[in-house]
């Protein structure tokens, strides 16, 4: 005789726990907002524009106030590397350990990284118009390798949305991520390896050629955008975790409901269990 159908316990509605937030993430969020405000003040009020005097002609040149865009553009680029690097590490975890934790982490890092990478392209283009007098330069190796990076991870996210065996989709996506991440060294070193094929200048951070408050503001930009990245990764991970849990919950409810409607032997045949007479 079939058991009485059972439904999963109804969940209380509107409780304070109905969020992806925790004490730690809320504190991080508040600190991030304070950091963003401080970055804005430093970038727009306290730092000077980039104005230099030509030694022979005495004419002013430089980026002028457009340099203030770099306080977000450069940190966004570095945080893109970090997010995609995390995606690559997690993708290795998917292939080796095959646990949901790595899979959700890889997916979260790829999505957040792609948001950052898109912003790198947009802010770079907006900065390039007044400084380079062009929105885009197809021959610039760094621009093109960054665009390729963005498109490869957009493809990764599209692959994640395909239907089919979720484990197979995860493994295929992991391979795509590991191939795509090979582009990061090309993006980063392109200004040195192809210095005649880029409008970008070589790095001035390593030699500390930037001075005082400008350098401090840029470093604060790295810290604050890093906090933004951490907050988004945390919440995107939790959303991904909940998506899996919600699906499991739904499947469990459907099985319980189906079990109530179907005699054990019939259900056993449906799932290929060859042990008649024993409770499922």
């Amino acid at each position: 005789m079939a058991e009485e159908p059972m439904s999963p316990a109804p969940l209380p509605e509107g409780t304070a726990s109905d969020t992806t937030g925790s004490r730690g993430s809320r504190l991080l969020g508040v600190l991030t907002l304070v950091g963003l405000a401080a970055l804005g003040v430093l970038a727009f009020v306290l730092t000077d524009p980039d104005v230099r005097i030509h030694p022979s002609t005495g004419a002013e040149f430089g980026q002028f106030d457009a340099v203030r865009m770099l306080y977000v553009h450069v940190p966004l680029a570095v945080m893109t590397y970090l997010a995609y690097g995390l995606c690559a590490v997690a993708s290795l975890g998917v292939l080796i350990r095959r646990t949901p934790w790595w899979d959700v982490t890889a997916h979260a890092a790829a999505e957040v990284g792609t948001v950052f990478c898109g912003l790198v392209l947009v802010t770079g283009s907006i900065w390039g118009r007044p400084v380079w007098n062009t929105w885009w330069e197809w021959g610039d190796v760094r621009l093109m390798t960054t665009l390729v990076l963005f498109l490869m991870f957009a493809g990764y996210l599209a692959l994640r949305r395909t239907t089919g065996d979720p484990r197979a989709v995860s493994r295929r996506a992991a391979v795509v991520a590991l191939v795509a991440v090979l582009d990061i060294p090309l993006v980063n070193r392109s200004v040195e390896w192809w210095e005649n094929r880029t409008l970008h200048q070589q790095s001035t951070l390593g030699d500390l050629k930037i001075e005082d408050l400008t350098l401090f503001t840029l470093m604060l930009g790295f810290l604050v955008l890093g906090m933004v990245l951490a907050w988004l990764l945390l919440h995107r991970f939790r959303v991904g975790w909940l998506e899996r849990a919600a699906l499991d919950h739904l499947v469990a409810a459907a099985i319980v409901e189906r079990r109530g409607e179907t005699p054990d032997d019939e259900l056993r045949r449906a799932v290929g269990d060859p042990s008649p007479g024993e409770p499922l």
């Binding site: 509605e13 106030d65 919440h235």
Partner: protein, 52 residues
């Protein structure tokens, strides 16, 4: 200040995009949290019963 329009566009698009994405994540998390028992949300463990 020079290039004001470019600065507003660049910073505005950056902060706006990040804010919209963050809000979207929070809302999606709220919708999903209502469908999933607390036991599936390990990040609630550090909050005690006052937040549960």
């Amino acid at each position: 200040m020079t290039h004001v329009g470019y600065l507003i566009a660049g910073w505005g698009i950056t902060l706006g995009t990040l804010a919209v994405y963050a809000l979207r994540l929070v809302r999606r998390g709220r919708d999903l949290s209502a469908q999933v028992p607390d036991a599936h949300r390990r990040w609630l463990e550090d909050q005690g019963s006052d937040d549960a």
